[in-house]
Structures are given as C-alpha cells and as structure tokens.
Amino acid sequence: MFVSETMATDLITVRPDTTLKEAKGLMQEKNIRHLPVVDEVGKLLGIVTDRDMRDAQPSSLLDEETYARTYERVMEHRVEEIMSKEPLTISGFYTLQDTLLVMGKKKVGALPVINEDGMLEGIMSTRDLLRAFVNIMGIGEPGTLLCILVQERPGQMKKIVDIITEENVSLGSVMVAKYWDKEKRAVFPYVMTQNVIRIKEKLQAEGFELFDPMSWYLDQLPQKK
C-alpha cells in the first residue's frame, strides 16, 4: 500500500541545462509527460511537464516562417527557465490512499518521490496509480463479483467472509459502498472462482440479499427535482 512499492524507479530525468529541444525529444521518445530535473548527485530541483513545454512554444497561429524561426530559438533555452521550481512531492512512505487524495486535490498528473535529503527516488504518475488499484481490486485475475446488501450493523462482514472461507475460495478484494437506504450497505466481494453457486445459496440462507447491481445503479441516478 506504500508508494515506494508502486512508484516507477526506472527514472528518466534531465539536468537544469538540458535544452528544451532535448527535453521534448525525450518526452516524445519515452512517451512521458513529466520530466524531473535533478542536479549532479540526483537531488530534485524541479519538474518539467508537457504543459510547461507547450506554454514555452510559440503560438501555432503564427505564419509558418515566423513560427519556425521562433521555435528554433525557443528550443535552445534551458529547462531550468521553465520548470516548476518547488514541485509538490511525496515520500515513499506515503500510502496509495494519500496519493489518490493528493492527486485529486492538487490536480497533478505525477508526483516526484523524494527522501529526507531531497534526493529523487521515483515518480508516481496517474498511470502507476491506476495499475496499483487494478492490483488492489484483484481484477487482473479471473474471478466473480458478488453483490450483497447488508444491514448496517456489526458482524455482517464476518458472516460473509466465513461463508466464502468455508467454500475454500480466495478473496481478491472487498469493496463497500453506500446505499440509498441509509440502514444498508452494498458489499462487493471479488472472489477468485467461477464456482459461486454454493456461496450464493449459503448467503441467501443466512438472510443476505443478493441484489441486482443495475437496480442499484438506477436508484442512484440523480432524480429530477
């Protein structure tokens, strides 16, 4: 659940005196949108994004000749002139949840990961985060999603897990969501099996309601006022 386990560590970085031309070539070649800028010992100095690059480029509305001339000149500048000098960073001890929330709040597409000395250790992009959540949800492996409606009171989850365990089935993940009826919760265990008949029968015998996710979806649709 920690950033240090999920972040990309095969880092592509530039130095402050790298030209915009080189930086842009690197971004295109490696298909990335964020370039950390580091000094000679690997300390993070800033970050350059494809957005910064576009801001630095001349307007595409210029006539061809003026554009080409200006473009040539612009591209000779150094990345330190356009980089974000104090970028938002996180540490390897951040959890994935921290990262999810901070990315949403600050609206950034990637976060450099640094240690206490400010040395760059990795980078965490939305792509890395998506991969991590595919893993957390277990959906990269074959399984079946159960949709169970439970009363909002203690001990319900234990019963569900016991039934799944009795059938000797592994759990990929369990998601819990709010339900329109505040007395109830929707529980979605992702079980790593095709053989769900007995689990469903036992859940029903225990009094759980297996609900149709579509009816839930329709209930959640915004109502006209």
């Binding site: 074959p142 079946t144 999603l145 949709c147 000797n168 099996t193 095709q194 053989n195 769900v196 996710p213």
Partner: protein
C-alpha cells in the same frame, strides 16, 4: 428434418468432480434423459468419439501444459492449478475424448454424413488457454476444432460464436492475433462475472485486430438485450468476415433459473439465440455448424434448453 449428429459417450461421465461441484456428470445424465424422454435422441445420428490424437491438442496447447495436466491426473491430485478445476484419475482421458468427440463431429459434417452436430461433451473448454486451465476447462475443445478445420480440411476462415454466459477467455486468447478465426462472444459483463475478461474494447491484437468481438450484457438483463445486441453486433461482424464453417461454444448458464449468473434469459430467449445463429450459418457457411456444450448448471432447465437447441439444429433447412 435434416441430419444432425450427436456426440456422446458414457466415458464422459467418468470425469468426476468433487461433491457439490456444479460441473458434474449429472449434467450429461440429465441432458441424455431429457433427449430420451422427448423422443429427440432417436432422430439424431450418433457419433462415437475416439480420443483425440495428441497432435491436435498440441496444435493449440503447450506440450508442457499437456504433460502437467496428465501428471496431475495420474498422481491423483484433487484439482489442477486452481480449486475450481476439480479432477480425478480419469479426467485426462475424458478430456482427450471430449476433444476427440468434437473432431469426429467435424469429420462427419465435412464428409457430408451429417448436416450439423451437437457435442454433449465434458469437461468444457472455452476458459482453457494455451498453457492454463481455468473455470472447469482443461483442453479448449472448440479452439482445437477450429485449428483442425484449418489444418486438416484447408478451411480458411472459421467463425466461433460463444453464447455461454461467461466470456471464453481461452478461445479469445488463442486466436487474438489471428485473422483467420473470428471469435464472437456475448456474456455477462466482466465487471460482475467470471473470468473478468471480454470487455467491449478487447478486439484482438496485431494481425487479429478487429477479428475478436465482445458483447458484455449487464446483470439483470436478458432477452431484450440479447435480441438487440446479436442483431447489431454479431450479424454485421460475420457478414463482414464470411466464415466458411461455424463452431459454437454453447453454454446455457444465462437462463434466469441458473444461479451461476445474473443474466435473465428465458427459454424463448435461448430459442431466439439458436435461430439467429442458424440463419447466419445458413447464409454464410452453407449450414455447416458444430455446436459444443460448455456451461449450464441448473439441472432442471438444462435438458430443456439443450433439447430446444438440438431441435433447432434438426429443423434447420440450409439452402
């Protein structure tokens, strides 16, 4: 009334899964009993299977995988690679015989002895990948059949329609980069149903891009969605591909009474599926189709659904 072949062998009952496993030998017993009672069985042309030549298994599956599977059965392990894949000592031989049944059905059809055929075989196959057993499947009966059609009969374009309620990940994977086999599957949406593949955006890779088509159906839906999607997705796809022969992965676990899925197909819905597919087969494949049993776990409705499907094959008038 046409000539419909029927593959069955008592040895298919010898693959015994653990007590309470849904993919049990009782499925075939129920299907057979049903066909006897309603008088359909005597109208069918029996096709006796032989174990498939390993050469044809190897055309689809990795040799080390085949050996691992055989060894697990010989060693008497309770399951193979996952607890879903319950096995016994006979499973390997029965699996060879299941593939052999499909190949024999293809032989009979290609020789003109039958117009089409239904294979009441088990274990099922469509989840089995080149080197992976999954979801009660070990050898991919239909995929091996498709390669056999190509390599033994020189058929260039084989169509596969998979209407089991689960996505046939194995068949898709085996042919994903192949433009000579078109795989179409309609199934419960993979966010809810096993095995979690078969999303709309999975359309094949490399040379096989656009030669795979998936129609996920949301839980709770049934006949209406199938009617609509078979018309808008399946028919144009095969019209474009022009298959010479069709193979079916016929699963009956999307019925509303089958607890394996949340899809609510009715008995009439299944009849519509069979009819629509046969219309397609008549138009492009001169009626040549071999249908192979995959899933279907509610023993109360399975025999009736299979009987309806076989009746559609029998009554089919290819032009």
């Amino acid at each position: 009334m046409g000539k419909t072949g029927f593959v069955f062998d008592k040895r298919y009952l010898e693959h015994v899964t653990f007590n309470g496993h849904p993919e049990s030998h009782y499925r075939l017993i129920a299907i057979l009993d049903g066909l006897k009672q309603n008088g359909l069985l005597e109208k069918l042309i029996p096709i006796g299977p032989e174990p498939a030549n390993q050469r044809w298994i190897e055309a689809t599956h990795n040799i080390h995988y085949i050996m691992r599977f055989e060894e697990a059965c010989i060693a008497g392990f309770p399951d193979f690679e996952h607890q879903d894949n319950s096995i016994c000592r006979e499973t390997y031989d029965v699996a060879l015989l299941a593939v052999g049944g499909v190949l024999k059905a293809i032989d009979s059809m290609m020789a003109g002895d039958v117009d089409n055929a239904f294979c009441a075989v088990r274990p099922p196959g469509h989840h089995a990948e080149q080197d992976r057993a999954l979801g009660f499947c070990y050898f991919n009966n239909v995929a091996i059949g498709a390669r056999y059609l190509q390599q033994n009969y020189g058929i260039k374009r084989v169509g596969i329609i998979d209407f089991d309620v689960h996505h046939g990940n194995g068949t898709q994977k085996i042919f994903e980069d192949d433009d000579s086999v078109f795989y179409y599957s309609i199934h419960e949406h993979p966010s809810f149903a096993f095995p979690g593949t078969g999303r709309e955006f999975e359309k094949g890779t490399g040379a096989g891009e656009t030669y795979t088509l998936n129609t996920p159906i949301l839980p709770g839906r049934g006949d209406m969605d199938y009617r609509k999607k078979l018309t808008t997705d399946m028919i144009p796809a095969f019209k474009n591909f022009q298959p010479e022969v069709m193979l079916l992965s016929a699963g009956f676990d999307g019925h509303s009474a089958d607890l394996m899925s949340e899809i609510n197909l009715s008995t009439e819905g299944y009849k519509f599926i069979s009819r629509t597919i046969l219309n397609l087969v008549n138009k492009y494949c001169e009626g040549r189709v071999v249908s192979v049993l995959e899933g279907g776990y509610n023993l109360d409705v399975l025999p009736g659904l299979v009987a309806d499907h076989i009746r559609a094959l029998l009554e089919n008038q290819a032009i």
